[in-house]
């Protein structure tokens, strides 16, 4: 407390004055930090881009590309997608191949399975900002099966919770 008194013992600066300065500083520093560290959230856009990349990869002019109905086709290899974000549980994809209501083949599902419920609840908006952002859609397709052309559709659920990181 000596700091706040002069040699004669008179108060140089009052406790309340220090408190006011402190409050002003905390408000300015806190406000600035909050303003400049607010996240730029691109997860919604990323899930939309991911959806489009899947469509471009699977369909060519409305026709399902060859090989995608094979049970052993490699989604990542065929669509130039990196597996890392799916292994790290930051993304999710669910592609269903349907003829009417029947599945033509097993769905293609990779990534964080929790995101499916995020997507289904409130159409991906969710109630928490930490929930993934989703893009859900379906596309009509024509595909070749048993030597004849058939009509069907694919349902795609693409979700992302990929936020960047600051590296010190």
């Amino acid at each position: 407390m000596k700091l706040f008194y002069d040699k004669k013992g008179e108060e140089l600066i009052s406790f309340y004055e220090i408190l006011i300065y402190l409050v002003i500083c905390v408000v300015i520093v806190g406000g600035t930090t909050f303003y400049y560290l607010t996240d730029v959230d691109v997860r919604k856009q990323e899930s939309g881009i991911f959806y489009n990349q899947i469509i471009d990869c699977l369909i060519d002019g409305g026709i399902l590309r060859e090989g995608f109905l094979d049970e052993n086709f490699d989604f990542f290899e065929s669509c130039d997608i990196s597996k890392k974000l799916f292994d790290n549980k930051k993304m999710y994809v669910n592609v269903q191949f349907l003829e009417g209501e029947d599945e033509i083949r097993e769905p293609v599902v990779f990534g964080n399975y929790d995101f499916k419920s995020h997507c289904e609840y409130k159409d991906g908006g969710g109630i928490s900002k930490h929930w993934s952002e989703c893009f859900i859609g379906e596309e009509r397709i024509v595909f070749m099966k048993d030597g004849e052309l058939k009509k069907g559709k694919i349902k795609i659920m693409a979700a992302s919770n990929n936020e960047g990181n600051r590296v010190k």
């Binding site: 002069d6 008179e10 108060e11 140089l12 600066i13 009052s14 004055e17 300065y21 002003i24 500083c25 300015i28 520093v29 600035t32 930090t33 400049y36 560290l37 996240d39 730029v40 691109v42 856009q45 990323e46 881009i49 991911f50 489009n52 990349q53 471009d56 990542f76 130039d80 997608i81 990196s82 890392k84 974000l85 930051k90 993304m91 992302s160 990929n162 960047g164 990181n165 600051r166 590296v167 010190k168």
Partner: protein, 128 residues
Amino acid sequence: MFRKRGNFAWDVAVHLIIVLLVFSSVALFVSKQADGSYVYEEIYAKEIGLIIDSSKPGMEVFIDFAKGYEIAEENKKTGKLVSYSDNIVDVSLANRGSYVFEVFTDYEVELIEDRENKKLIIIVGGEK
């Protein structure tokens, strides 16, 4: 606030010094934050990441990177500002840390800094 007439000048001096010290440190902090490097590193990393993700092999994309070069110059940042390796875009506009954003596509990507024209060229190659 001021008590005795004789101490008036001393009181004013003490208060001025305290106010100057407090507010200059706050102003320094705010200006450091407001130079934009934190925000722009994140914006550029995510913008470049989304461009790569939405590209097709063989595409060349030119983006305006004027603000990035300007901030890097203010911060006396030397070396590469933007790099890409292992599917990660790394943007650093100051001499302290960087912002990284991971892309989901698996392309060969080359980033060229065209400082003369204030552009960044993103060249998307084929699959790795």
